[in-house]
Symmetry: C2
């Protein structure tokens, strides 16, 4: 029987807090002990990835307490409840089933009178069949010409995840003759966003996917209207060029305004929806259904590994435990995500939503205030770019920011150049390992301006190459890490009540039902 | 006579610290007092912009102390020293002259035997003449055909600022028939970055600008070689397609490998170099020299306003003071930059470098450790996108993150759509003001999950439209804010010793001169 308790009510909590400052990272990572840590503090992940936490502020004592914490917090049992269909999203009283899109982890999950795994597979198949028909030239525009571009119209989870994945695999796909259609994304209600995207595409040969679970998202409906106008002006029938990804109960579901509709449900939150039709339709059109299936296979393999109750065999759980230790014991607010891969340029933006929207909460899953800090601030840019930007503060600033590095042995595009005895890929990899050590060990110097205190913790995920499988595994790793952290903090990681108030006030502004400061600010912008 | 003192040695310091928690933002912003604050707490900026800080945790008492702090810290006098050519960059013993690229703020500044304003103007003119000749078809490729694309090869300050500016004005330029050439950027040493950009451009009709002050930046030289190979493979002579932006003493300066060379000097740091030839060449080619000059005019106007000793008339100074108050008195670590303008999509990334590399320091300008926190962590994404991503944590997370909003009355592309009684631009603006009030005042609710504590401070910069002048003013505002904050913290905002250690260790890895953990990590990635 699972027991949902606040972190500070667990028996291990005092022992957990007592870990503060017990590990001297500079000392641990210097000399041969450092090499031993690199060999020892590593967890195999799915699809050839590895999670190395040698440069985190841990030792065997810390790890023993973290393991005890994992057990007392029943992380494995809670995950089991989740994938077997319990109402984990307590606020909205919903099941949480994004993993079920990728594979059957436990019992059959029945809801709304259907087997949900069958439902998700059927929708993926519908997306696959549609994409195959487009690629085969069976589904065309009115002139019988093929569609060459797909444009996703969505915001938040309907945008960030699918966009990050598309960017991550675009050049891999070009290199592997798997780019079937170019993809573009319209998200912002700023009309300049849609205008710029529409100018960059060949409208008569473009398909547009309107993505809104409720069918009522203001930004998305507004951008849909914007696009419909542009299609009409271009002399094409919007109904032939527009698709819908929505819930079966939304106004979009049975509308004749769309050439096809693909369904999601209430059990998959926006930020976890890349595995649903929100990702399946656009990514199957862009790369082909087989590539989308390979992403899902990578994610499913990571989901399986996340079942292991031993953190040393479960990278998502270990990452989660160390993150909570850094947040609640060491007192760090931020985490920087630093992939040494240009293809992962927008992956930090996706993780920023995934993490901050899931665990940026002040109440527990029962709606009671918690007495400890919860989710961190997440930011990041790809390396080596970030080194020439904000790393100065990370190295020598007055606050410690834990770091999450990612690196791959091989690049994607298969082009490289050997300069001064090394390839660009080798330089890229050399930089990531150099940074880890610079952050961990620092450097003494007579000139205090050139002194590095070190003691700045980081972890490193390594892989052979960023491809559909490893990307899927990486995506699921972070989703599962965040899920475990939500369990530890005892928050509901699957709702987002914090976004509602702004929406409500914006409606009032547009209806001119304002007074006081809200009216005064509205006047400033002449709304 | 200017006196450089640590913040905690100023007479006003205790009074400053005593401000903690004295302002109840919810109370201040509720009702008619809120409207009065919006009218009162505003500072005019250059080019029609305004800085409104009504929703910051200030009142007349706080402002009086901040003004006293500005005076005792001699912010105006220090700025005067800077623009008159003092050695403000103490670490590297250099003048700090980026503002001089935009206008003559004080005395003539002589260095290296020349009048530096004349030098900067001469280089801008050289860039303008070159760009005009390219646009007129006088400078062409070997086949006599016009160049249509310009590709900047640079990293850090040679990339982020010019790229953010290009993206900010690309659609404005299209709308105003001012887009002369498309611009692309290659920065990352990851070979997939250059490979992707090269695939996207028409090489025989592209100019490539190699940007490196020292002529030794690893990433840039590597990418230059990568591009040279591609040019040769495309059958074109690299010397006809490549330009250099560098210092007069660099190996690139007189090389015949470049069709033309444009010069910068040691008095302009990378992150401040958009106003130098680092920005002038690529932006003059992309938009024409007149547009670049208009950006500079906007920046120059902001630089002039920054001379005013009264924070109520000096937005950069007020912004700086409030930021230091939030950091050192209120204890907030992060600041989120949230432009409600898709065109400013990469402006937060530029500000992230500008701020974190300038003020992420632990020693003062004399190399002595400071006893207080310095520069904040900066991150951000454009609104409304961010609302559907990380705002959950900003509204209901356990830590307060101060916010910097930016909004414009008009969009750039001149296309809009009226849905449910309002345009997209109105919806965009309604959202930004709604967010400010939601953050400031929060909302009571019986359900704690729907409760918003409020008390989360933000400021708002408003403008008519994002155009070359207002963009220049915005850029200079933040540069000058960061400069004033550096003065307050008594740090050197113009060096970046924190980036050196990683470079050193990366060289060792590539030379295989490693042991211990560094070797073990290198083995993980098979370097």
């Amino acid at each position: 029987m699972v027991s949902w308790k606040n972190l500070d009510t667990l028996a291990v909590y005092d022992k957990f807090l007592a870990l503060k400052g017990t590990v001297d990272l500079v000392k641990e990572m210097t000399g041969e002990n450092g090499a031993a840590r690199v060999a020892k503090y590593t967890v195999p992940m799915a699809c050839g990835l590895n999670y190395n936490f040698a440069a985190k502020e841990v030792d065997d004592n810390v790890l023993a307490v973290l393991k005890e914490l994992a057990e007392e917090a029943q992380l494995t049992e809670k995950y089991e409840e989740l994938y077997n269909g319990a109402v984990i999203n307590t606020g909205e009283k919903r099941l949480v089933l994004h993993q079920l899109c990728r594979g059957q982890l436990g019992k059959d999950v029945m809801a709304d009178g259907v087997n949900k795994r069958e439902f998700y597979v059927s929708q993926q198949k519908k997306a696959a069949d549609f994409a195959n028909a487009v690629h085969a030239g069976e589904i065309t525009n009115a002139a019988g010409e093929p569609f060459t571009t797909v444009v996703q119209i969505g915001i938040g989870g309907s945008d960030l995840g699918p966009r990050a994945i598309y960017i991550a695999l675009e050049n891999w796909a070009k290199q592997n003759d798997a780019l079937k259609m170019e993809a573009r994304f319209i998200s912002n209600v700023d009309p300049d966003d849609a205008a710029a995207v529409l100018k960059s595409v060949d409208i008569p040969h473009s398909l547009f996917i309107v993505v809104s679970k409720s069918g009522t998202t203001l930004e998305t409906l507004t951008n849909e209207s914007f696009v419909r106008e542009a299609l009409k002006n271009a002399g094409v029938d919007p109904a032939q060029h527009m698709l819908a990804v929505t819930s079966e109960t939304s106004p979009l579901a049975s509308s004749t305004d769309y050439r096809a509709a693909f369904f999601m449900d209430d059990y998959i939150g926006g930020r976890y929806s890349s595995s649903s039709c929100v990702g399946a339709v656009v990514l199957s059109l862009a790369f082909g259904p087989d590539i989308f299936a390979r992403i899902m296979d990578g994610a499913a393999a990571a989901d399986e590994l996340a079942k292991n109750p031993d953190p040393m065999q479960n990278a998502a759980m270990m990452d989660a435990l160390i993150g909570v230790y850094e947040r609640n014991v060491q007192g760090y607010l931020c985490t920087a995500v630093l992939p040494y891969s240009q293809a992962l340029a927008r992956f930090p933006a996706h993780l920023q939503q995934l993490d901050m929207e899931s665990n940026g909460k002040s109440v527990n899953r029962f709606g009671e205030p918690v007495n400890y800090v919860t989710g961190p601030v997440i930011f990041g840019e790809p390396g080596t770019n970030g080194q020439h930007s904000f790393y100065q503060l990370l190295h020598q600033g007055t606050n410690i920011v834990p770091l999450q590095f990612v690196g791959f042995k091989q690049n994607q595009a298969g082009m490289d150049v050997d300069i001064q005895g090394s390839t660009s890929q080798q330089k890229l990899c050399a930089n990531v390992v150099a940074q880890i050590m610079a952050f961990a060990c620092g450097k003494d110097d007579e000139d205090p301006n050139k002194y590095f205190a070190g003691g700045r913790p980081s972890s490193l995920i390594t892989g052979e190459q960023l491809n559909p499988e490893s990307l899927g595994a990486l995506l699921a790793h972070f989703e599962n890490k965040i899920m475990f952290q939500g369990f530890l903090w005892n928050v509901n990681s699957f709702d987002q009540e914090g976004v509602q108030l702004g929406k409500l006030l914006a409606k009032r502004v547009l209806a001119h039902e304002t007074d006081g400061a809200l009216k005064a600010f509205s006047d400033l912008l002449e709304i």
